[in-house]
Amino acid sequence: MTLSILVVTDQRDGHLKGASLEALSEARRVAAQAGGGEVVAALVGSGLSAVIEEAKTRGVNRVLVVDDEHLRAFSASAYAQAVSRLIPKLTLPWAIFLPDSALGRELAPRLGALLGAGTATAVVEIHADPAGKVTVKRKVFGGKATETLELKGTPVLSLRPNSFAVDAPAAGDPPVEKVELGALPVHAQGVAVEKVVSTRGDTPELTEAAIVVSGGRGLKGPENFVMVEDLAKVLGAAVGSSRAVVDAGWRPASYQVGQTGKIIAPQLYIAAGISGAIQHLVGITNSRCIVAINKDPAAPIFKVADYGLAGDALTILPALTALVTKSKGP
């Protein structure tokens, strides 16, 4: 009998997102840790041929697909129904992994409710013992505490982006099986997308980026905010800001990090000219490493930062950009 981990991927933008790759890689590790088991990629949506090819390179044992016109627009209800059609294809369903993207965060609890299973969102660690018992860790209270959960049934887990390593692509030709969607209940019908509005150009998304560089009011004016963007560019980082920057109209609301903005957990967070108000801090405390650049050595941001530079961001940011550019070579 083979235990199976089903990994429901997010490909709303036409390819497997980084968080989906993390979920696939972690599923392989967890399966191995518990003494073996298969990893099955579940692709749900419409027009998936390219993504199927991508999933096949990710070291999975099988690929299950529900490709249906009715799944063109994302509806948590319809997608949960689609995933539930895949469960009978598993000999012994063990756990269901999803990326904790906007899609995964909405789908995981709906699926958990449909299956009556233990559910946990934004998990940062997963353990499975050979008996099959699954425990997870997740951050609570704005990252100020960690809870360990034991889950019943076939646990449904969404995995927080940037929390799990991504394996290199693997050769192989796993079998692909298409499964019919069948009839949907009324509550899973009728969602239509009119358009997608992109709020940023080619910089990485704040909630997914491994590195985020943020600027605050300490940059003095919108003309200096480009210093933050220049450093982000050479680091391949996303750009964020404090609310003061948004309120002053230097940058749009989509940049805002914190309680009323985005909650992020990058590997590296660089805050320049940000004081470190509690509403900003709740958005960043899950970062692995925090660097603060602030003129005021007593600024509260230094209490939560790992490394501090007490100095002028307007001169330090360009120096950092120049040095990173130089170290990367021509």
Partner: protein, 267 residues
Amino acid sequence: MDVLVCVKQVPDPETKLRVAPSGKALDTDGVKFTINNTYDEAMVEEALRMKEEFGFTSVRALSVGPARAEEALRATLAMGADEAVLVETPPGMELDPLFTARLLAAAAADIPHDLVLVGRHAQDDEAGAVGSALGEYLGLPSYSFVTELTPVAASHQLKMRRYLEGGEEVFSGPFPAVLSILKGAKDPRTPTLPNILKARKKPLKKIPVKDLEAKVSVLKGGFQPTSAVTSFTLPPPRSGAKMLEFQTPEEAATKLLKVLKEEAKVL
């Protein structure tokens, strides 16, 4: 149109956290509870805005929690909600987000609702799970991370915007439905003193959680949590930043990149 808002009372975010002797929960002894989850305040504001703008019939508030959660409901009434229902849990009863969703679903079945609104997430468990689970239990569509919302009553359609990595989606879907509100159009209003006094007299019904057992037992997952906290830990206190000494911006840059590469290993 009737709107039902689900609100949760949570510990004040600035409260100092301590671990309970069991090692499995927050020690709530001496903890100050806020009136309401901040994200729920934004969501309630959105409900009240719609009521005022579109002339909805009512905004009712629902909470699952111990007796003290009445304060959260009174605060919601003081903001402008019309009625409230508290599903009262006995001290020490363990809940998880999906069990909470089952209890909310059972209680909501007896409260008129065209729209059920929840917040982005609760500031304690940070699950962001109750909304779409509640949709499943109520047999309704659910829409999450909604940033703009206009109901078209005649066609029973909602025009919405929702957050998506890298942007937003403009989309529509039918109601009745459950929605999680990422942010409202306006900052939450602060209740005025007369409204706080008025709120004390507004109807607030209490339902003992036991009364819902039969209804909840038939839902997937049943009358119990499907996850259990086995440990609750606090990280060692942050010792404060390691301050790097420098004379020039170039020296600052050099020292920082060195520690990020060699010590923190994040570059």
